[in-house]
C-alpha cells in the first residue's frame, strides 16, 4: 500500500500541540485559574483546528492509504522508528478525540469538580489528548505503546483527585488492571519483533512478515496482545475496573473514558491484532465472539440491577462494547465497519449520557435512581436531552447508535469464511436478545427518572407549587444559587436542593450541541463515516483473507 507523504508534519503537530499548552500553563501562577483555563481551552481549540485542517486535507479517494505519512529515526538501537500515518480507520477517532477534549473543557469552564484546581485539571486533559490522538496515528508498535500508556497517569489522577468517595480505590484498580493488560501486550509486541527477525517494530513490516511465524507462537502472541486490548475495551471478564472507574470519575473523566479511552482497546484489535496476526485472530474469533455476547448479556443484566444512574451507564458500556467486539470477531468487512462505527457512536452517545448524568448530579447531588423522578417536568430540556440520548443508546434507527449495533449483529449471520457459521448465528440471536434488554434497561431508567412528578425531596408536587418555574429563570449560570435563599424561607428544609435545580445552561448547550448534532447527522447519513472507514477496513480484511486463504 502506497503512502502519501504530503504535509507529513501535520500529524505530529496535531498530536503534540497540546504539550505546548501544558508548557505554557506550567508558568501560570495558581491564583490565575481563569487564565489557566483560557490557555488550556485555546490550546485544545487550536489542536482541533489542526485536526479539522488535517481532515479537510485528507484524500478521501485514498482512504485506505496512510496519509500525512512520516517515518523518522527514533530509537535506532531497538529498530523502533517514529512512524505516523492517518488512514480512514484512524481518522474518525482521531478527530473525535480532539472534539471531545474541547467539549469537555468547555463543560469544565465552571464545572471543576472538588477539590478545584482548574490549572492541573486542564493540564491533565491536554496530556490525555496527546496520548489519545497519538494512539490513533502511531504506526510503530513501541510508539503505539507509549501513546497507549501516556493516558494512564492523567486518568489515574483525574479519577483519584477529582473523583467521588471511593476515588482512590477506583483509580488504583483502573491503573493496575490496565497496566497488567498492557504489560502482556508489550511482551507480545516484543515476541512479534523477534519472531520476524528483530528488524522492525513497524506495523506495516510486521503485517507482511508475521504470518510466517509458527502457528502455535502466533496464538501465544495474540493472546498477549488480546489481553492488553481486552482489559482496555473492557471485555467480559476483564471489565470489573470499569464500573468503579466510571462511577467514581468526575463527569469529565467519565466522558473521556467512555468516548475515547475504551476505544484504544478495540482500535488495537483492528489496527494491530487482525492485520498482523490474521491466523491467530481467526483461531480466537469464536472465543472473542463468545466473550462479546456474554458481555452484551452480562452488561445488560448488570444494568437492570443498578440503583445508581452513572453505574448503570457504565455497565451499558460493557454491553455496547460487546457489540463492537462481536463485529470485530466476525472478521468481515461489514462487521468491522460496524464496529468502527459503533466505537464512534458509543463515544458520542455514552459521552453525552455521562455529561447528562454529571449535570443531574450537579443539580440533585445524587444519582440514586430511586430518589430521582420527574426530570421532564422539573428540568425539561435536560430531560429531553436525556431521553434523546437514551433512544440513541438503545439503537433507535435514525440515530447514530443504530449503525453501530444493527450491522454488527447482522454481520454475525455470515462470518468470515472458515468460521463456524452456526456458532456465529447463535451469537447473533443472543446479541439480538441483548438489544431487547438494552431497550428495557434504558427505557426503565428513563421512565423512573424522567417521568412522573418531581419527588418531594427536590421540591416537587409534595411540597407544592412553582419549583420548576422558579428554577428555570432563577439560575442562568447556575452558580450563585445561594443568593436565592431569601425567596422561600418557608421551605427551608428543602431549600438547598431546590435552589440548585435549574435547566440546561448556555455553557452546557455549547458543550453538548456538537455531540447531539453529530448523533443525528451520523444517524441520518451514516455513509459519511462508512465512506471513510470502508476502504481502510476492506483493505485490512482483504489482506487478512489473503493470508488465510494462501
Amino acid at each position: 500500500m502506497e503512502h502519501l507523504t504530503d504535509q507529513s508534519g501535520l500529524l505530529s503537530l496535531g498530536v503534540f500541540l497540546p504539550l505546548v499548552g501544558v508548557a505554557v500553563m506550567i508558568f501560570i501562577r495558581p491564583a490565575e485559574q481563569a487564565l489557566a483555563k483560557l490557555v488550556g481551552l485555546v490550546t485544545a481549540v487550536a489542536t482541533l483546528a489542526v485536526g479539522i485542517y488535517t481532515v479537510a486535507q485528507f484524500d478521501y479517494d485514498k482512504a485506505a492509504s496512510l496519509q500525512f505519512y512520516t517515518n523518522r529515526g527514533w530509537i535506532d538501537v531497538i529498530n523502533s522508528r517514529f512512524i505516523m500515518g492517518l488512514d480512514g480507520l484512524g481518522l474518525p477517532l482521531y478527530l473525535l478525540s480532539m472534539v471531545v477534549t474541547v467539549l469537555v473543557m468547555i463543560y469544565s469552564w465552571n464545572h471543576i469538580p472538588e477539590p478545584g484546581n482548574a490549572k492541573s485539571f486542564f493540564m491533565l486533559m491536554l496530556i490525555l489528548q496527546v496520548g489519545m490522538a497519538g494512539t490513533f496515528v502511531a504506526q510503530d508498535l513501541i510508539l503505539f505503546f507509549v501513546f497507549f500508556e501516556i493516558v494512564l497517569l492523567p486518568m489515574y489522577f483525574m479519577i483519584g483527585v477529582w473523583g467521588g468517595e471511593q476515588r482512590q480505590y477506583a483509580s488504583m484498580k483502573f491503573f493496575l488492571y490496565t497496566l497488567f493488560g498492557s504489560a502482556f501486550m508489550l511482551l507480545g509486541f516484543l515476541a512479534l519483533y523477534f519472531k520476524t527477525g528483530a528488524e522492525s517494530f513497524s506495523m506495516e513490516f510486521l503485517a507482511q512478515n508475521a504470518p510466517s511465524i509458527a502457528r502455535g507462537t502466533q496464538l501465544w502472541i495474540f493472546a498477549g496482545l488480546a489481553l492488553g486490548f481486552a482489559v482496555k475495551v473492557p471485555m467480559f471478564p476483564f471489565h470489573t475496573w470499569l464500573p468503579d472507574a466510571h462511577t467514581q470519575a468526575p463527569t469529565q473523566g467519565s466522558v473521556i473514558l467512555a468516548a475515547i479511552l475504551l476505544k484504544l482497546g478495540t482500535f488495537g484489535f483492528v489496527r494491530i491484532g487482525i492485520p498482523i496476526l490474521p491466523e491467530a485472530a481467526k483461531a480466537y474469533a469464536p472465543w472473542i465472539g463468545l466473550l462479546a455476547v456474554i458481555g452484551i448479556i452480562y452488561g445488560a443484566l448488570g444494568c437492570l440491577a443498578q440503583t445508581d444512574m452513572k453505574r448503570l451507564i457504565a455497565f451499558s458500556s460493557v454491553a455496547h462494547m460487546g457489540y463492537v467486539m462481536l463485529g470485530i470477531s466476525t472478521l468481515t468487512a461489514m462487521g468491522i465497519n460496524a464496529a468502527m462505527f459503533g466505537m464512534v457512536a458509543h463515544g458520542l452517545i455514552t459521552g453525552m449520557l455521562f455529561f447528562v448524568a454529571g449535570s443531574v448530579k450537579d443539580r440533585y447531588h445524587t444519582l440514586e435512581i430511586s430518589r430521582l423522578s420527574g426530570l421532564l417536568k422539573q428540568v425539561p430540556h435536560l430531560g429531553w436531552i436525556f431521553g434523546f440520548c437514551v433512544m440513541a443508546s438503545l439503537g433507535l434507527p435514525g440515530l447514530a447508535g443504530f449503525w453501530g449495533e444493527f450491522p454488527a449483529i447482522l454481520s454475525a449471520y455470515q462470518p468470515a469464511p472458515g468460521l463456524n457459521v452456526n456458532l456465529f448465528r447463535g451469537y447473533m440471536v443472543v446479541a439480538a436478545v441483548g438489544t431487547v434488554l438494552a431497550a428495557s434497561y434504558l427505557l426503565w431508567l428513563f421512565q423512573r427518572t424522567a417521568f412522573g412528578e418531581p419527588t418531594a425531596e427536590f421540591g416537587g408536587v409534595a411540597s407544592g407549587h412553582d419549583a420548576r418555574g422558579h428554577s428555570v429563570h432563577g439560575h442562568d449560570d447556575g452558580h450563585d444559587s445561594h443568593g436565592q435563599d431569601d425567596d422561600h424561607g418557608v421551605l427551608a428544609a428543602h431549600d438547598d436542593h431546590r435552589a440548585d435545580i435549574y435547566d440546561v445552561t448556555p455553557l452546557e448547550w455549547l458543550a453538548w450541541s456538537p455531540l447531539l448534532v453529530a448523533i443525528v447527522v451520523l444517524g441520518v447519513v451514516p455513509g459519511l463515516m462508512f465512506k471513510v472507514l470502508d476502504p481502510a477496513v476492506t483493505n485490512i480484511v482483504d489482506s487478512a483473507m489473503k493470508v488465510l486463504g494462501g
Binding site: 495558581p30 529515526g73 527514533w74 530509537i75 535506532d76 538501537v77 531497538i78 492541573s120 513501541i142 505503546f145 507509549v146 500508556e149 501516556i150 494512564l152 497517569l153 489515574y156 489522577f157 483519584g160 483527585v161 476515588r167 482512590q168 483509580s171 488504583m172 491503573f175 493496575l176 497496566l179 497488567f180 504489560a183 502482556f184 508489550l186 511482551l187 516484543l190 515476541a191 519483533y193 523477534f194 528483530a198
Partner: protein, 495 residues
Amino acid sequence: MLAAGWVAPVIDAHALAPEIVLASALCLVIIADLFLSESRKWITSTLAGLGLLATFVPIITLAVDGNDRSMLSGGYVVDNFALVMKAVFIIGGYVVVLLSSTYLEEGDYYQGEYWTLLLSSILGMLMMSSSRDLISIFVALEFLSIPSYMLAAWRKRDLKSNEAGLKYFLLGAFASAVMLYGMSFLYGLAKTTNLAGIAAYVKEAGDTGLIAMSVVFIIVGFAFKVSAVPFHTWAPDTYEGAPTPVTAFLSVASKAAGFVGLIQIVLVGFPAAKNIWQPFFWVLAALTMTLGNLMALRQDNIVRMLAYSSVAQGGFILMPLAVASTSGTKAIEATVTYLAIYTATNLGAFAVVLAVARKTRSASISSFGGLVKYAPGLAVAMTIFLASLAGIPPAGGFIAKLTVFLAVISGGGAWGIALASIGVVNSVIAFGYYGNVMREMWMKPAPDGDESPIRIPQNLLVALGITTVATMLFGVLPQAVLRFGDLSSFFSAGG
C-alpha cells in the same frame, strides 16, 4: 615465568587520566580541609564537585578519541563499557555531592572527611569499570566499599546510623571474604589472575566441580554487594539508618559498581561456564524482583520503601545476565542502559525525599500527603521519578525495562520468555507501592494541615533539574543517550 625478569609495564597516561584527575582532587580536598577554618569548610564541597566535573573532561576526550586502550596485559582496559560506566559514576557522584552539601552543613557533620571518603569511593568505582583482573577488581571493590561503610555511619550520635554502618561493614566484609575464597580457587586452577587467561582456562577445562564452586562463591559475594535476594538483608536497615544522601549514593553508585564488577568477572572471566551462572542468575533475578517488590509493598517509611524498591530494581538489572551467553552484547547494553537510567531516576527520587524531609522532618510515606498543594513542582518531579521507576512511558524507566525485556527475549527461548513474564508481572506489582506515594502526594491532605511552602536550597534544585531532565530525556529521545552505549567492543577488548 618469574625468572623472565620484571619488565615495567607501559602506562598510558591518557587512559588513566580520569583516575589521576580524581585522585588529585581527592588530595586537594584533604589538604584544603587541613587549612580551612570551621566556618569555611563548605569550600571542600565545592572542591569535591569541581573535582568531579574536571574528571569528566578526560572521559570526554577518551570518548572522542574512541580507541580502546588496554594496559597490564589486558588487566586494565578503557573501552566503551568502561567509559559509559565512568561517566555514569561521575555524574551520579556529582549529583550526590549536590544532595549532600546542604545536608552536611545544616546537620553540622564533618565535611572535609566526608568529601574525601566520597571521592575515594567514586575513584574505586572508576577503577572497577576498567578492571579485567581478579586482583584489580578486588582492590577496586574494597576501595569503593570501605569508605562507604564509614559514610553509612556518618551520623555518629545516632544509634541507627551506627547500626547501618556496622551491618553494612560486617556483611560487606563477609561478602568480600566469600568472594576472595572463590577467587583463590580460580587462581589456583588457572594460575593467572587475568580474566582473559581465566576465560581461556575455563573454556578448556569445562564445567568441573571446582570451577563451579568458585563461580558460585564469586557470584554470591557480588550478590551481597548488589543486594540480591536472599543476600539483601542488610540493605533496608543500612539504607534507613544512613544519612539520606549516603543512602542515595549506596542505592545507586555502589550498587551499579557491584553490577559492573559482576558483569566483567562473569562475562569476561568465565563465559564458558554459562551452564553454571545462567541458571543461577535466572533464579536470583526472579527471586530478587519478586521478593523485593512484595516487601516494598508493606513499607510505610519512604526510605525503606525505596530500599526495597532498589532491591527489586536490582532483579531487573540481573535479568539480562541470565541469558547473557546467547544475547551477548545486547545483555550488557541492556544492563548498562538500565543502570544509567536507574541512577538518574533513583537519585532524583532521593533528592525529592531530602527536600520534603527538610520541612516535614519525617520519613514516613504519609508525610508526603498533600505535597501537590504546597510544592507542586516537587510533586510533579516525584511523580516523574516514580513513573520512571515503575516503567511507565514516557519516562526513562520504560526504555530501561524495554531494553531489558528485549535482551531477555532475544536470547532466552522459553526460559527467557518465562523470566520476562515474571518481570512484567513484577513491574505491575511495583506500581502498587510507587502509586501509593503518588496517591499520598496527589490525593491525600497534608498530615498536619501545614501547607507552608518548602524552601529548596540551590544545590538540591540543580540536582533535581539534572535528574528530571535526564529521566525524561532517556524516555523521549533515548537515542540521544543510548548511542553512547554501543558496547560491541566489550568482548574483544576483554579477551
